[in-house]
């Protein structure tokens, strides 16, 4: 099989799917022309990501990577969430085919964009170790 069972599971039964009306931070990355757009919504309380949802336009691994990334940051402090690497997403999915690794990079970037949006909305500077 091209994809691991975990990828297929997250593709067919995505976790934390959908829009969030009262999000504290929203991050959108990717480009429709290239066939991948990810949008992450986060709810933050006391520096903790209490809820996270996503919407994705893209291939199976893009949907699976978004879904897995939300699971990995839910309930985590913002500082931890922005440390999430694409490699961690790939490993949690039991691997992605080589030409699909960029989907996990998008997931990492989408989370960082949502966290940055949160800081901006709060009128705060993005902490040094969060900015890129």
């Amino acid at each position: 099989m091209l994809y691991s069972e975990k990828v297929m599971d997250h593709m067919q039964n995505p976790r934390n799917l959908g829009k969030m009306e009262d999000a504290d931070g929203i991050g959108q990355v990717g480009n429709a022309k290239c066939g991948d757009i990810m949008k992450m919504y986060i709810k933050v309380s006391g520096g903790i990501i209490t809820d996270v949802t996503f919407n994705t336009f893209g291939c199976g691994s893009a949907i699976a990577a978004s879904s897995m990334a939300t699971e990995l940051i839910k309930g985590k402090p913002l500082e931890d969430a922005v440390q999430l690497t694409n490699q961690a997403v790939v490993e949690a999915l039991d691997g992605l085919p080589h030409h699909k690794v960029h989907c996990s990079v998008l997931a990492e970037e989408a989370i960082r964009a949502a966290v940055e949006d949160y800081y901006h909305r709060q009128g705060l500077d993005v902490p040094g170790d969060c900015a890129r």
Binding site: Y3, A32, M38, K39, T56, C59, S61, I63, K100
Partner: protein, 395 residues
Amino acid sequence: MYVYADNAATTAMSPAACRAMEPYFQTIYGNPSSLHSVGQRAAEALEEARAKVAKWIGAKPEEIYFTSGGSEADNQAIRSAALLGAQKNKRRLISTAIEHHGVLHTLKQLEREGFEVVLLPVGPEGIVTVEAVAAALDEATALVTVMMANNEIGTLQPVEEIGALCRERGVIFHTDAVQAVGHIPVDVGRQNIDMLSLSAHKFHGPKGVGALYCRKGVSLRPLIEGGAQERGRRAGTENLPAIAGMAAALEEAATRLEEHQSYVAALRDQLIEGLSQIPHAKLNGDPARRLAGNVSFCFEGIEGESLLLLLDAKGVAASSGSACTSGSLDPSHVLLALGLPHEVAHGSLRLSLSAYNTPQEMEHILSVVPGIVAYLRDISPVWEELEKGVRTHVI
């Protein structure tokens, strides 16, 4: 229910083709080049198969060269015609933007070797005009190669007219007929074809075997050097089981062509009608001038690979011109050649049917596609932008 709707990729073998292969594994296993009787029986079978393939495309047996498939036939035809042209200082090769990669990549390589390649555009329906070919033809043209039927969008090209034009101008005309042979009537004489590629597994024959027709009088160079098989044009011991299977499959397909064509076209139209009900969906290619088995759609706001995976989970095997299915970043060159924007081309779905499909299977497809498209749109930020008017609907 599991519906196989990817017959343009490959087909199930017909029972008759399977039976036709059987004797050449353990009974008549001789090498057709051997002088002993088991070899000579194999040689006779090889020539019988050649005569059958020739007959069903209107050629003479000595004009048929067996190959490993459509890609090899394309490579050999184009390379051979280019070499022949170069000897007369003719270095222009004319083709279209929607050819199969077997043709396009061969042309690209020849371009690197100093040939001039002209890829003609197609209209929004995916058909090249004879006028465009005529305008591109000049004294330096070595070859015109235009596919008979497109593999992605099923459009039928005006091959007979292009062939007539090339004949009149003394230019070699090759056609990649991989998607056409066994599905639409093919007659190399009537259609003015000098060279034609065909592939067995597209008409319920075995994989790994095809043929190149090369008209008597047109010189053909080998791609593979070695023994004197195929009259010195294709070295290597002939794959007789596969060749016998191909001949049987072609005979069966050609004998029942009209019956199959109208049956499959009815299935196709059932799908097209049903899928057209989905909002912001578009049929790709020409509604009338298309293969009986081809259904190609674009759905705005979604990506094709995820559509395929979800369809597979619901028991439908299909294909897409999405970038993600090819491993490249660009969607299908064919869909882009129709003038579709990248983001729309990413949302393509190809359902390709054969006589083995049934109306009940079409109902199953129609019962699952709209729901999956709606689900993927529901989770798509692109669709959200389309709905909000931030992004403009194209289809």
